[in-house]
């Protein structure tokens, strides 16, 4: 970023002030949640709540992790992790394979398959929720990791991304590999896969967040509390009747539920941005 034309003018002071304001607005809910997770219920029921953290951090997080709602939060975190990883890895694997087939082979029904897959590009599970639930129930997959994962791993988006990526891999590279004597699977494992690895990693970040943040689906198909994920679990901690709401514990759970994906986003920022920008284009 050289050049001064865009950088001068209204002044950097204004720019920074605006950005700080924006950051403050964006961060406020999390700060509030964090503060709420470090105080007692009594501090919260009589507004205004404190704006600075209290001394009950460990009590609340311990309470959440060990007791939680219907199931202890550690267990829900574990389930979320299994689900997120399952969805992520599953999606990547099947999308890689199908994109490879569609780009690098000519076969009967190729275009039909292509369209069958891409028709589902924007068909979220919410739209066909009842019948999907029934299908999964008929397959006996309720309350199972398979049931949590499988219906969410068919992803036209990932296939589309890999297709785009493969298209940009120069033909010459494939030809060089052929001249070197590589067959299709060798090419896939020796050349294509290693060359796609940053994209795979980037997609991994995006899909992990997608998987982790699933809500409606686990809400419906995990009737057994020991299978609950943390994102749905927190909803079940919210009051539905007259019991007192343990806001500090709920907020501690919320913080715990946010932590893995937020860490992933911030820690792998570069990959994340890359994955995002590419997977959507």
């Amino acid at each position: 970023m050289s050049g001064m034309v865009e950088k001068r003018g209204i002044g950097t002071w204004f720019t920074h002030a605006g950005l700080i304001l924006g950051v403050a607005v964006i961060c406020f809910p999390i700060w509030i949640a964090f503060v709420a997770s470090t105080v007692t219920q009594a501090d919260l029921v009589r507004p205004p709540m404190p704006m600075l953290p209290g001394p009950h951090f460990f009590d609340n997080y311990f309470e959440a992790l060990v007791t939680g709602g219907n199931a202890p939060v550690w267990q829900m975190l574990f389930n979320s992790m299994v689900m997120a990883l399952g969805i992520t890895i599953g999606k990547i694997v099947i999308s890689l394979l199908s994109a490879y087939a569609i780009v690098y082979f000519r076969f009967r029904f190729r275009m039909i398959f292509f369209w069958l897959i891409f028709l589902t590009l924007m068909l979220p599970v919410e739209v066909r929720i009842v019948p999907t639930y029934e299908v999964v129930a008929n397959l006996g997959l309720l309350n199972s990791y398979t049931g949590l994962i499988l219906p969410l791993i068919a992803s036209a988006t990932a296939t589309f991304l890999f297709r785009q990526l493969f298209m940009t891999i120069p033909d010459e590279l494939t030809e060089a590999a052929r001249v070197d004597g590589a067959g299709p699977m060798r090419f896939f494992f020796d050349i294509l896969l290693p060359m796609s690895r940053t994209n795979i990693a980037a997609l991994f970040v995006i899909l992990f967040i997608y998987g982790w943040n699933q809500y409606l689906w686990p809400l419906l198909i995990t009737t057994d509390p020991s299978m609950n994920t943390v994102i749905m679990g927190i909803k079940q901690m919210l009051p539905t009747g007259d019991q007192t709401v343990e806001w500090p514990v709920i907020m501690a759970t919320a913080m715990l539920a946010m932590l893995p994906p937020v860490l992933v986003v911030i820690g792998m920022q570069r990959l994340f941005v890359k994955g995002l920008v590419e997977s959507e284009k």
Binding site: E134, A137, T240, G241, D242, T244
Partner: protein, 414 residues
């Protein structure tokens, strides 16, 4: 040991008490293990049960609130009637040992008990005596009619109370019970007992007047709306509200948490209505046995039900929670123990329910899709509370929309 799955809707204090009973049962024998799981609130539990049934994963026992009764009754093939379960188990089961006012709700026209009336309640009025005193009122003042309640609210409001009055279960208390209590129909065809082709009649004069009054009170800040179910309980228990209309089962929480002096009073009525007060009707929930389990499990269910109906368990449950005693024996035992004298007001519910012979308007309600209809009524009432609708408009609209659902239910269950 055979596992018996039991899905219920309790949380908080009631959840603890239920868990206590279950572990007592589990400890009492070794053939069966009852696993109780909370599935959220009453609606969520019902829906979870239905969804699970469709998926073939239904529990053995499902707690269904009174609102779901018609739905469950219509679901032949999904439920196994309690009388059958008990008969097959060979355990002693005498239907006449149960309180008629209660079982009437859950029996077929032939008098066969379809579900076990585990936790039945009826609405009463909770009074925060300290709040009345603070408002310069006599904490023992007469609050038997809504007019008198009105004066109390004026005083509370004037004294600066943020929450003179709130309620739980607005439709149940202020329309369903209101109708029965004043002996006016809530729906045609004997409130649905006489056929699926019933229509809502909840927009009659008594109901409109009542809701109108509350609408005005809401506007004046005398009636505070706090949610469709019993969310108001938390506020009341925290001491913020003067009066609170809620299920008799609210007692469990209030007794447990309230740091103020409270009293239980009968549900107020409109004195100008002829025949008022009639009797109030039942609420709470009953336990349904789901179809599709092994005989062994049914046996376990029967044993568990038998355990729940035993008089000392029932008596304790009644005394702890404020739910009605479901057997005559439990009632007698409680009375004999002097509990009612020590805890004045705890017998109000049962008196209020059984004080008069029920009429066609006060036997109860049996409406299909009633949970959804309550949702509609709640919505319409919210419209009144926030001032966007008049009572008449809201109730008319509720009737029209509710009838649509009744027709669809009729169609699905033809």
């Amino acid at each position: 040991a055979t596992q018996i799955d039991f899905w219920h809707a309790f949380s908080g204090r009631l959840g603890e008490l239920l868990d206590e009973q279950v572990s007592k049962f589990n400890a009492s024998q070794s053939d069966y293990v009852v696993v109780a799981t909370s599935k959220g609130n009453y609606s969520e539990t019902l829906n979870a049960g239905i969804a699970a049934f469709r998926a073939g994963e239904q529990p053995d026992i499902l707690q269904v609130f009174e609102v779901g009764t018609a739905t469950m009754m219509a679901a032949k093939g999904a439920i196994k009637p309690v009388y059958e379960v008990m008969a097959e188990s060979g355990l002693p089961f005498d239907q006449s040992a149960y309180l008629a006012a209660v079982t009437g709700y859950y029996t077929t026209t032939d008098g066969e008990m379809l579900s076990l009336p585990y936790n039945s309640s009826t609405p009463v009025l909770y009074v925060n005596k300290d709040a009345l005193t603070a408002a310069g009122l006599d904490p023992e003042m007469d609050l038997s009619t809504w007019d008198k309640v009105g004066t109390a609210l004026d005083a509370l409001k004037a004294s600066g109370s943020k929450c003179p009055m709130t309620t739980a279960w607005q439709s149940w208390v202020h329309l369903e019970n209101l109708s029965a209590y004043h002996n006016v129909p809530f729906a045609t065809k004997d409130n649905g007992f006489a056929g699926l082709d019933t229509e809502l009649a909840l927009n009659g004069d008594v109901q409109v007047k009542h809701i109108e009054t509350f609408g005005q009170w809401a506007k004046d800040g005398k009636f505070i709306y706090s949610g469709r179910r019993n969310e108001g309980g938390a506020t009341f228990r925290a001491g913020e509200c003067g009066l609170f209309t809620e299920s008799s089962a609210g007692y469990a929480g209030v007794k447990n948490e309230a740091t103020f002096d409270f009293a239980i009073r009968p549900l107020p009525y409109w004195s100008e209505v002829d025949g008022a007060p009639q009797n109030t009707i039942i609420g709470g929930a009953s336990l349904w046995v789901m179809e599709g389990q092994t005989p062994e499990e049914y046996k376990g269910v029967a044993a568990f039900f038998n355990f729940l109906s035993s008089s000392d368990i029932q008596a304790k449950w009644h005394q702890d929670t404020g739910y009605l005693p479901i057997t005559m024996a439990a009632y007698e035992a409680t009375k004999a123990s002097g509990f009612y004298d020590e805890n004045p007001g705890t017998d109000i519910a049962i008196i209020q329910m059984t004080g008069k012979a029920p009429t066609a308007n006060s036997k109860g309600l049996r409406l299909g899709s009633f949970d959804q209809i309550r949702g509609i009524i709640d919505e319409e009432l919210e419209g009144v509370w926030n001032g966007s609708k008049t009572a008449k408009e809201a109730l008319d609209s509720a009737a029209v929309r509710g009838d649509e659902l009744l027709r669809r239910f009729e169609q699905a269950n033809r």
